[in-house]
Symmetry: C3
Subunit: 330 residues, 3 copies
């Protein structure tokens, strides 16, 4: 631990000399890459936040699924030729999310655990596939491999009695939402909602978890932490302006995709500037609309949006990046 | 007006010397580009047709939305680097359609107007995004940016009580259509249906509006006007042969996408020839099938197809263009 | 016949000298390409299997549709510039499947036959379109043109009273499958299920038909025949492990896409090796999950998956091929 926190050089040397420690380091980076950070300490903090959140919600399987998914995906990544991407954790983050999502929505039976392992393996193949396709336009796969793989397994759970839903939304035809009573702007509530939104990236609501995630971000990039907080805040206000369900807003369900859009557009794929800030604000507001849209779109088939609103909105805003940003930014 | 109609040179000089007039000219071209024409007079005639049609249906908000959307999108386009596309109105036409579609399906509240502004801004980003992706295969974005942006906002309206549906189809599971009594081939009816179909590109049925649209087309391209009329006619006969709802046929709902396919395949992206004519006929007939298919596909989620049948069918026929057309056409 | 079976050289010369015989040869190759084989004898055996299966199920229209679709598509292919693809039957196989699928799900009225002709023509355009798009990533169109074209016509059948469903699934919201009593592992049953699965590629269950398909494969490629059988077997065990409906497993409904994935990944686009075998096993297992997922996904819109699970899973595994397979494989 000391090596890691107090002495990054020592840790780097340890990784270089010991294959097992290198693997642990890569697995931690895999977890950190869920929010675009290439830093093992960020990954460790994220894992802590996940255990805090999962135990807090009484669903420890989510945390163990996360660990399992990241490990399996990182192992699978060893079979790929691109060792640099492997070392940066880029084959691990989708498995991490597959491992968080499946126990959230399915009963943790042995068949479900087998699906987490299979899903994590496939998430790596999907990562290479989608990254290959998207490099034509110089855009990253984001969390699309996770979403695609998890959607397939969740949809399949309706057809296979070996997989039991524990939290999938019941398939229904969309109906106009009836205005719900309830306010979200009562003092500290917005503050809590904000951190709920950040922790919802890993599919749970947790104030403490959310705070640890932000600390983890700040360890690697202060801008990422700032954009995460501002993204969550702007998403909450946008959803409130559009009159979304106050309960959903408070649980962070309109913020988690927006948080990722804010980090991606604001700090990961652009250097902060006024122009980038404007672009990011439009992107975050649009992500909230896409979140509402995808809730409707998926309601007849009974699966959650996962982080697809973030993926769609960010692709939409990242492909034209070079046509929008000043020339020296390329 | 005289400068525009009587003296194109004078108008071009005026545009070159006055930024404000250049902006108006570009906005008019934006409207004309909905049907692929790069001509401010065509745009002006289209706007007139829109006002005639919108007031005729008692929904003036559609016309004002159109003007607002085109202006906002044209303004947003100023932020893009490609000034030639901007000047041709290629950043404006999707905003124009967003502005027509949202007030057609949503109650025109302040939140809805805010969504028109946001949607028009996003339509420009979507235009650059989709155009960037599609230039890999030398195909244009067509009206896909409009469809994507508008679908998102219409789907989102189910999740947000701030947006109220005024005309969205009720979500239902598809059912085989029961044969409806009614004929469409009673004398002048086909004539009216044809112009209804052309005006449905802007989401309303209007004989006078349709006629003005055709005149607007003819001002820039006689072939475009001819293909629009023949496309509408062929679509009506195809839909009647397949036994579609006579009411929908008469309202032009099977023709508007086919009209755009006919102009695109027949005159915009190809030079008229017998081979092109054959190809266009198959394309138009298939567009009618896709229209029926997408009506079914979207019925559980309660949104209209907009011009997606045209977009899908035209992409399908335009990508292989170079493999089908004689070599000198490339 | 003798020329074909006993003397390939004689047949090849005959094809070269007689345009009509060349066309028949190409049409037969079109049928064989449904399972990736470029061999007229394979195609002839496949057509025999189709007639056996179609008459066995009491739906001869399926067999005649198949013949018609392949012929129309092969004729349409003459209009394309790439004569080498035409000669290999690559413009024919999607039309063959369109011709099999439409009479399976629609009443064989004159309008339906017109749709088979139109669908076969469009399938060729879709083949060129999708192949053009996918060559950016060096991946084949597979049966996507067939799926796309047929889905459009089947979806459209709900909107047009001229087209009557004879076997489309009733649109329903997905529900968790209730465990069905019934075993699939009673002696010879697995054997029958395996061949049912292979014949389901052409949308019917037939032991004899399935056996003839395997013989047809073996005529051109022993590996293809082996992978078809192993793919079907693995799919049946996977579906049983996941507790799918025993009836569907026995009818081969979880195997047909897996059979195609196994042939594609195991023998067509890779040379058999241990690494390829492992990759193919993961691909086949995932195809079964995608089959379950797509059954759920499509249930509200009342259309069958056709071979889309194969297409999706195979694209997913073929795009990263070069990143996974040893360097000399490129």
């Amino acid at each position: 631990m000391n090596a890691k926190t107090g002495n990054q050089f020592g840790w780097a040397q340890l990784c270089a000399s010991n294959v097992f420690i290198e693997f642990i380091d890569t697995t931690l980076r895999g977890c950190a890459q869920v929010m675009f950070q290439n830093n093992p300490l960020t990954g460790l903090l994220f894992f802590i936040a996940i255990f805090v959140g999962a135990y807090g919600e009484g669903s420890p399987a989510v945390a163990y699924g996360c660990v399992l998914g990241t490990i399996v995906a990182t192992l699978t990544g060893l079979a790929m030729r691109d060792r640099k991407s492997w070392r940066a954790g880029l084959y691990g983050y989708n498995g991490c999310l597959v491992g968080a999502a499946l126990p959230t929505f399915l009963v943790a039976t042995p068949v479900a655990w087998a699906c987490i392992v299979l899903g994590s393996i496939v998430s790596v193949i999907a990562t290479v596939c989608i990254a290959d396709i998207l490099k034509t336009w110089k855009v990253a796969a984001l969390t699309a491999p996770f979403v695609f793989t998890t959607w397939m397994i969740l949809l399949a759970s309706y057809a296979f009695t070996g997989l039991h839903s524990s939290g999938l939304p019941t398939p229904t035809l969309p109906q106009q939402l009836i205005s719900e009573p309830g306010t979200i702007f009562g003092g500290g509530n917005v503050f809590v909602s904000m951190f709920n939104g950040i922790s919802q990236v890993f599919l749970f609501s947790s104030l403490v978890g959310g705070i640890i995630f932000v600390i983890g971000l700040a360890v690697e990039s202060l801008w990422a932490a700032i954009f995460a907080l501002l993204g969550a805040l702007l998403a909450i206000f946008t959803a409130a302006f559009l009159d979304a369900s106050p309960h959903s807003i408070h649980a962070g369900l309109y913020a988690f995709s927006a948080v990722l859009t804010a980090i991606a557009l604001g700090s990961t794929f652009n250097q902060p500037s006024w122009r980038v800030l404007t672009y990011t604000i439009v992107g975050v507001i649009f992500t909230v609309l896409v979140q509402g849209a995808m809730n409707t779109l998926l309601s007849p088939i009974g699966i959650p949006t996962l982080t697809m609103p973030f993926v769609l909105a960010s692709w939409l805003f990242l492909v034209p990046n070079k046509d929008v940003m000043p020339a020296h930014r390329q």
